[in-house]
Homo-oligomer: 305 residues x 2
């Protein structure tokens, strides 16, 4: 069993601790906790009774590890963003595995330092990208990667369903600040979507972004983003997000050489080129003598997510 | 009756002439034609029999007007783009009304010259934006303009259903050239969409475009465009088009302060803010203490187009 400490038991940390407490992760057990917020003490009372050690801070936990008073194999980091780097680096120095909540840090420099520390230790380092486990994205990744429909032509992802009221930003002193949060909707909500985008479609080679800071909220960081992207094969795309749209949209359109894929509301719709197009769009484009062909809208086949 | 000459009877001109021949436009009658392509002679044979005059060129038609040999009140211009300006200006000089197929010209300078000539003559000058007569866009314009749902927040229009094969571009010597066509998908296919966009949502004050020339076809002009736009009230938007996507999409998303409107496949869907949001998103955003409110996706009410 991998004895695991959850560092930072707030909104997300309490979820991770509770999952471990309930034995829902094969091979992992809850061994220690830090910074347990009052409102989560009842949720985790069984662990306290079972003798799971609780520390005031991550520093005190690592002190105990270094003195041989605590034996753990891994840490799950769920503290404010600006502390991720320091905690991860100290964990790696102690030979621990690290699972870190997104984002890796407030600056890209912090992410690099964490990666270097992980490489040096040889221990497993992973970020929490839980949306990669959603069946719909696994299936989408399979479809795009299979090559059945050819290369990427276009990607448009409108993900404006991350609505947040003012109170969300006011609920903690570090949220929505450049210094401690590192950004707004791109750093807080969209790491999942940006990770899925590069996982499914590959990394774009050029990006131009249009960010608006405090457009919908009284915050200094961005809450509205439109990004234009280009891939090295010439594919183009947009990524549009905000925390101020209501109702919002979560719709991912992926245009491949031989099909259009639309992922929305838990359903993948695939529009394949119809037989009259000869199967290959590039061939059809060169040979067709119909000046105004009807657009092909065969989007009937749904693939449940 | 407005006696009308159709100047340039090719693909579009033959449609206009045929509509007039069939008496489908109240108050207008077909009086003359120029440059009738062989393949449209049978279609218009009734007009020839009825004595509608046919001229080899627009110049010869205007010569006849100036000599008093032909009496007309208006011209419909459906010639190649680079000739629109000269024909329109000569029509206005002869006191004729002008209905001109889009685009107005190859350069914006040509459009200005045409407008000046129209102003000087005091005669009606209009472009053919036939999509403004589609019930779905009339309804959309009414909904947005009514103010019922507040100001514009975001517009995304993906209009990639303008698919054209190579033969379309090879079918005439002037198509898809900078000099005589003036551009690609933006000048040829999208004037309708760009006109509807500014008609329904108002003109953006800033635009940044990403155009790819000859991405899908062997042409020198753009066949792939992504544009980012900003309106003076802070609203943002994208406009994405190409003639190389198959299957393509035609989907217009308009986010207003109190509703999301999606226009696709002949249907308008309106997602209104639900009562628990208190009717006004701005009020809800300020007062809600729910940190992670469920996004409001009431998109049930369809408005037939």
């Amino acid at each position: 069993m991998i004895k695991t400490a959850v560092i930072g038991v707030g909104n997300m940390g309490s979820k991770y601790a509770s999952i471990l407490q309930d034995g829902l992760v094969d091979g992992m057990e809850l061994a220690a906790l830090t910074r347990v917020k009052d409102q989560y003490k009842e949720l985790l009372s069984r662990s306290f009774e079972a003798g799971v050690q609780v520390f005031e801070t991550a520093d005190k936990l690592f002190d105990a590890v270094e003195k041989g008073e605590l034996s753990i194999d891994a840490v799950v980091i769920a503290t404010p963003h600006y502390t991720h780097e320091e905690i991860a680096v100290r964990a790696f120095k102690n030979g621990l595995k690290v699972l870190c909540d997104k984002p890796s840090g407030v600056y890209s420099r912090q992410a690099r330092i964490m990666e270097e520390a992980a490489d040096e230790s040889g221990k497993v380092f992973s970020m929490v990208f839980n949306q990669r486990t959603l069946p719909i994205y696994i299936r989408l990744k399979e479809i795009v990667s299979s090559g059945k429909y050819g290369a990427l032509k276009r990607v448009n992802w409108v993900v404006t369903d991350w609505y947040r009221p003012e109170q969300y930003y006011k609920s903690s002193s570090w949220h929505a600040t450049w210094e401690k949060d590192g950004g707004g909707v791109l750093l807080n909500q969209c790491p999942h979507n940006l990770d899925l985008l590069q996982w499914i479609c590959g990394n774009p080679v050029r990006v131009q972004g249009f960010c608006h800071e405090g457009r919908f909220h009284d915050i200094e960081v961005e809450d509205d983003v439109t990004a234009y992207m280009e891939w090295d094969n010439g594919a183009t795309g947009t990524f549009i997000t905000s925390t101020g749209d209501a109702p919002g949209i979560n719709r991912l359109e992926i245009s491949l050489e031989e099909a259009l894929i639309v992922c929305e509301k838990g359903v993948i719709k695939i529009g394949e080129l119809e037989p009259e197009m000869g199967g290959k769009e590039a061939d059809y484009r060169q040979t067709s003598t119909d000046l105004f062909p009807k657009d092909n809208r065969n989007l009937e086949r749904d693939t449940a997510g």
